[in-house]
């Protein structure tokens, strides 16, 4: 395989990652930069640390590979499932990175993972799982329940 052009991405903490252009183009944000000729020698990716950026690159690399090898749905799902087995903080960071870099598949995967953590839980269980503080006063909460009574029947 002839080597394609290389793009360098620079994380918020200064680490540089050299990747193939095809891999970089998995990010629509970077793709637009390349196509609009705004891409300089090194593209800075603010707000994304090296740890997270390397994870995003791993995802993009694998999915570019998948486009060529055309795996079965099971193989794809299996890889994605293993890939996303990360702690909650890393998951949030990946969501934000995928959102900023506009990597649709990764954003879908991460949002789906969080959605699965919410499914089947009542509001109190959701609060506990995600450390959300209930900032309603008892009166305010009663008001909302009454207003949306149809939702709680």
């Amino acid at each position: 395989m002839a080597p394609g052009k290389n793009i360098t991405l620079k994380s918020s903490d200064g680490e540089e990652f050299a990747i193939e252009e095809t891999v970089a183009m998995e990010s629509q944000t970077i793709r637009h930069m390349i196509e609009d000729d705004c891409a300089e020698s090194s593209i800075p990716v603010p707000n994304v640390t090296a740890k997270i950026l390397s994870k995003v690159i791993e995802y993009c690399k694998k999915h570019v590979e998948f486009a060529a090898t055309k795996p079965t749905d099971e193989e794809l799902k299996s890889w994605d499932t293993e890939f996303i087995k990360v702690d909650l903080n890393t998951l949030y960071d990946l969501i934000l990175a995928a959102n900023y870099l506009n990597v649709k598949g990764l954003l879908d995967l991460t949002c789906e993972t969080v959605a699965n953590m919410i499914k089947g839980k009542n509001p109190e269980e959701i609060r506990k799982r995600f450390n959300i503080k209930n900032d309603f006063t008892p009166e305010e909460e009663a008001d909302i329940r009454r207003e949306n009574q149809w939702a709680f029947e």
Binding site: A115, P123, F130, I132, N134
Partner: protein
């Protein structure tokens, strides 16, 4: 020893500080009932649900007859209130209503209201299991909806199919359509397809079709299941890649221009159609497939016309369906395989419950001696999926071993539930 900083970070609510667009994306993946209940989590969360663009409502019919009527009323009310109370300026990209039950039907007045709401909020995907909602007609604005891309519509019921008779049809973005229990009279199906310039996938299930001819250049996938053809017709889809044709009833259908079809699944019950309709000519149109699934009833039909059977040059994967094992099938199989020179994998579904085997041990021995070797030089693997291990299975395996003596084929047996 955890430092204070780390401990503090562990207890932080980071999810609430994600941007709105991401939180509504996450909520779009939950059922509507769970979405609305997030309004009580915190002040931040109470402001999210009205802006969620994808809604999925599930109705599960109660087992108890007493609570059923009340449950249905509550559900109809719930859907209506949700739509009424959400932010009207937010599009509804996906609207899905799923119905799990056998006795109850939604009232048509409600269905009409929900459908009109959805259609006026730029829907991309519509999934409506209306299950026997009689008296409901698809509104005109459904047929001219500019945003629709993916539609699943289950209209009437087996005994009452909904008539499709729109005046104008223009669905410029519709790529995927699955429709159940509809009646397309007087060439309406043709009109419909003509009004869908980018249609790629069409599935018709339990529909009644009266038409002469359908022609669609953009279609890549076609499934016709349990449909009743009221008059003889032909289907032409020159870019079709995948075809499923399951148990048609009534008149015959001719397939034209199917040279790009790589995958076909055909299951025809000779009791429901005249076998003359689906013989050699029908199978000729599928002669370029790589993957073929055939129910053996078709096989029987083909038996009568085997000399005229075309050569399936590209066929790599052949699966014989559940009705596989009838007496004498092995003779047809080896004759048929002569027309499949490049076959690599053969799969047999041996459902004991459906077996029509009735023969004595002598007959069995006799047959085996006469068995012809399979001519497919490239045959690598034979999969046999079976439901119970018995002498019929043993006979089959013996047969396969004899037929593939000079080939390097592997025979794999797997037990499954049919």
């Amino acid at each position: 020893m955890m430092d204070e900083g780390r401990r503090a970070r562990l207890n932080v609510d980071r999810i609430s500080s994600l941007p709105d667009s991401i939180l509504t994306d996450i909520l779009s993946r939950l059922q509507a009932k769970e979405v609305i209940q997030t309004c009580i989590i915190s002040k931040r969360w109470s402001k999210l649900w009205p802006f969620v663009p994808c809604l999925d409502f599930h109705y599960i019919e109660s087992e108890s007859e007493e609570t059923r009527a009340r449950d249905l009323e509550r559900f109809e009310n719930f859907v209506s209130m949700f739509l009424f109370r959400r932010d009207n300026a937010t599009d509804l990209h996906t609207f899905s209503i799923q119905h799990q039950g056998r006795y109850q039907k939604f009232k048509s007045a409600f269905v009409r209201m929900w459908m009109l709401y959805a259609l006026t909020h730029n829907p991309k995907k519509l999934h409506m299991e209306l299950w026997g909602c009689v008296g409901f007609q698809l509104p005109d604005c459904f047929f001219t909806c500019e945003s629709l891309e993916d539609v699943y519509m289950e209209l009437g019921a087996l005994d009452h199919k909904e008539k499709i008779v729109p005046d104008k049809i223009s669905l410029p973005r519709l790529r995927k359509l699955e429709i159940k229990y509809a009646y397309f009279g007087d060439d309406y199906l043709e009109k419909f397809i003509f009004g869908c310039p980018v249609l790629e996938s069409l599935c018709m299930n339990g529909c009644d079709l009266k038409m002469d001819n359908i022609s669609c250049r953009t279609l890549k996938k076609l499934s016709v299941r349990y449909c009743c053809f009221i008059s003889n017709c032909s289907i032409s889809a020159p870019n079709l890649e995948s075809l499923e044709f399951t148990e048609p009833i009534g008149a015959w259908t001719k397939l034209k221009d199917m040279s790009k079809v790589t995958k076909a699944k055909v299951s025809i019950h000779s009791s429901k159609v005249r076998s003359a309709y689906y013989g050699y000519e029908f199978f000729s149109s599928l002669s370029s497939v790589e993957n073929l699934y055939v129910s053996s009833i078709c096989f029987k039909i083909l038996q009568e016309e085997l000399p005229k059977c075309p050569t399936f040059h590209n066929l790599k994967n052949l699966t014989l369906g559940k009705h596989c094992m009838y007496c004498g099938f092995e003779i047809i199989l080896s004759s048929f395989l002569k027309h499949c020179p490049n076959l690599e994998v053969l799969t047999l579904l041996h459902d004991d419950g459906l077996c029509q085997f009735l023969y004595t041990q002598e007959m069995v021995d006799q047959n085996l001696e006469q068995i012809e070797r399979f001519g497919c030089k490239r045959l690598k693997k034979i999969n046999v999926f079976y439901s119970s291990s018995n002498c019929k299975l043993n006979w089959l395996v013996g047969l396969l071993l004899k037929s593939t003596l000079d080939l390097q084929a592997q025979i794999i047996l797997t037990k499954i539930e049919f």
